[in-house]
């Protein structure tokens, strides 16, 4: 009984004291945060200099297929009936070579593609030229040829179903597919 009334009084006092402290605190210091679980650490900053960071908050783990696709680029494009590596493609292929040299256990397949404005068989041969042009570029940047397979899909595997010049351009490409060795 005694213990109970003592506790009650003590609690009442504590509430008053706390209210007073709170008033003083408002005037002098920032209000303390409610006590909760520790927030997770912020994501590590991406190590891409000078480019717009990707618009997603999660970054791909370095060395993964996702990292390669998002941060390097897995497809380069060609002119009509051509297989020489254009300037825009060379930039991406430089990055592909650097990435592949960083992750030497990764094996790749380069898939050459053509737009539909040609015959099936000629386009198979043209796709093979594109795949080999990319292969030669990567080998020239130190990627071992034993890590690279090439294949041509001709005009059989378009990525754009359209029939505009933009669609044709997208379908004239070489795709670097990781077949094994990525995390």
């Amino acid at each position: 009984m005694t213990t109970s009334s003592m506790t009650k009084r003590a609690a009442k006092f504590a509430v008053i004291a706390l209210a007073a402290a709170s008033v003083t605190a408002c005037a002098s210091r920032p209000k303390p945060e409610a006590v909760g679980p520790t927030p997770p650490p912020p994501p590590p900053a991406t190590s891409q200099p000078g480019t717009t960071p990707p618009p997603v908050s999660q970054g791909a783990l370095p060395g993964t297929q996702q990292d390669f696709v998002i941060n390097v680029g897995d497809r380069v494009y060609f002119d009509f009936d051509a297989y020489s590596v254009r300037g825009d493609a060379a930039q991406i292929l430089e990055a592909q070579a650097a990435w592949l040299n960083r992750y030497p256990s990764v094996m790749i397949r380069i898939e050459g593609n053509a737009d539909e404005r040609g015959t099936r068989e000629y386009n198979l041969a043209l796709g093979a030229r594109r795949a080999n042009a990319v292969r030669d570029f990567l080998v020239g940047r130190g990627v071992s040829s034993s890590r690279i397979n090439t294949v041509s899909y001709g005009k059989e595997r378009p990525i754009d179903p359209g029939t505009s010049e933009d669609a044709y351009q997208r379908n004239r490409n070489a795709h670097t597919a990781i077949t094994s060795g990525a995390n």
Binding site: R109, T119, E156, P161
Partner: protein
């Protein structure tokens, strides 16, 4: 016994018809070389007996599709009780301006044996042009109808027919970015379609051997390509070997002893040939350009192929050992997929020029180029065995691929009788 009696009766009737007829030659004939002809009006009334109406319908459709004949609507027929044993009432057929008349009779004996007797008449000279009998199993009635169509076509045009044939092709389904392609086969009139592969991988460019029993085709999988022989009788499939690069564009020589094809190494595509007996392969071209789409001349002595060694894809002809390659395409534009005609007279091709695609023909020396079709995407001609009709793939912009046919004059361009999406047709020789 009954068969024999019928045959005797037919022979007797044939003789009497010949006696009755004037000694003058038949007056109706169709010139397949002229592009401006009026199709010949013909009447094909339902044959008497079991399946008689269906057989007449198959013949009617074949003749009509050729573009050389105009079948008359049976509703216009005056004589309705034709009997194969008697002369038709020519006046009745003249009235509706039928110039050719095909009538016939079907009998099926107790064992299921089907016998079809038919006659072809020249209505205006009142002369019998053909009197023939075909026998087969009753389930084979469509082939009998095709053989009758071929006989009529040959008698009236002077050219071999092409109706008793099949077409192997690629049946397509799915969207443009995830197309499913299955090897398929059908009769030339679209009947009896069936699939030969399950669609788990892409198939392309099938070709018949001269025996019609075997085809060669290319399979494309994510990690590379293969070329195969496929026996239609046994269903047996056999790979033509492992190649380090892409392998594609296989075609038989006309004697069936060799297959020419393309092999790619390090980005360079060359034409090779394999002797099917010894399985030894030799390389026929060694230019650092694209050399593909080979096609043997009927005598096997030469090969026409597609090369961009001159800077753009053009058509070349070389000796079968790879020597003496010469460019034959002369016009402006890109020339591809040359295909030697069964008669040796022409090389058909795909031409890309001015944003359009064409199917065309030229002589093997490059002269006489003639474009037969124009569309957003026409590709990959194949010859009917008589060299008078070509089948090819046509795609409208953004639309599905369909099979089409065109005659060598370019007058008769029409969809092939296959209502689904398809590509890469290859016409068989006449069946045996």
């Amino acid at each position: 016994m009954r068969l024999r009696t019928l045959f005797v009766a037919l022979t007797a009737a044939l003789l009497s018809a010949a006696t009755l007829a004037s000694p003058a030659r038949a007056q109706i004939e169709v010139d397949v070389n002229r592009g401006d002809i009026q199709p010949l009006p013909v009447a094909v009334p339902a044959f008497t007996g079991e399946r008689g109406a269906e057989i007449a319908q198959v013949i009617t459709s074949n003749l009509e599709r050729s573009g050389l004949f105009r079948p008359i609507d049976p509703a216009a027929f005056i004589e309705r009780d034709l009997d194969i044993r008697y002369q038709p009432r020519f006046a009745d057929w003249k009235t509706i301006n039928a110039q050719g008349l095909v009538n016939g009779e079907v009998t099926v004996d107790a064992t299921g044996r089907l016998t079809v007797n038919f006659r072809l008449w020249d209505v205006f000279s009142e002369q019998q042009l053909l009197g023939m009998q075909f026998t087969s199993t009753s389930e084979n009635w469509r082939r009998v109808a095709h053989k009758i169509s071929d006989a009529v076509y040959e008698r009236l045009t002077g050219e071999k027919g092409y109706f008793d044939t099949r077409v192997v092709f690629v049946a397509e389904s799915g969207g443009r970015v995830d197309r499913i392609k299955r090897l398929a086969i059908m009769d030339q009139d679209g009947a009896n379609p069936s699939y030969l592969t399950d669609g788990s991988y892409i198939v392309m460019t099938p070709r018949f051997s001269s025996t019609s029993q075997e085809i060669t085709y290319m399979a494309l999988r994510p990690d590379g390509s293969s070329i195969y022989l496929f026996n239609l009788e046994t269903g047996r499939r056999e790979s033509l070997g492992n190649f380090s690069g892409m392998v594609f564009a296989p075609r038989f020589s006309h004697d069936g002893g060799k297959v020419a094809f393309s092999v790619e190494r390090g980005g360079n595509t060359d034409v090779h040939v394999m002797d099917l007996r010894s399985r030894s392969t030799s390389r026929l071209t060694s230019d650092p350009s694209i050399d593909t789409s080979p096609s043997f001349s009927p005598d096997g002595g030469r090969i026409t192929f597609n090369s961009d060694r001159g800077g753009s894809p053009q058509i070349y002809v070389m000796n079968a050992d790879g020597s003496g390659a010469m460019r034959i395409s002369r016009g402006s534009g890109r020339y591809m997929t040359p295909v030697w005609s069964p008669t040796g007279e022409y090389i058909a091709f795909t031409k890309q020029a001015g944003g359009q695609f064409h199917i065309g023909i030229m002589r093997p020396d490059g002269s006489g180029e003639r474009l037969l079709t124009t569309s957003y995407l026409d590709e990959g001609p194949t010859w009917a065995p008589n060299g008078r009709v070509l089948m090819f793939s046509r795609e409208t912009s953004g639309g599905p691929s369909r099979l089409w046919t065109v005659d060598v004059t370019g007058r008769v361009v029409r969809p092939a009788p296959y209502p689904q999406s398809g590509s890469d047709p290859a016409w068989s020789p006449l069946l045996n």
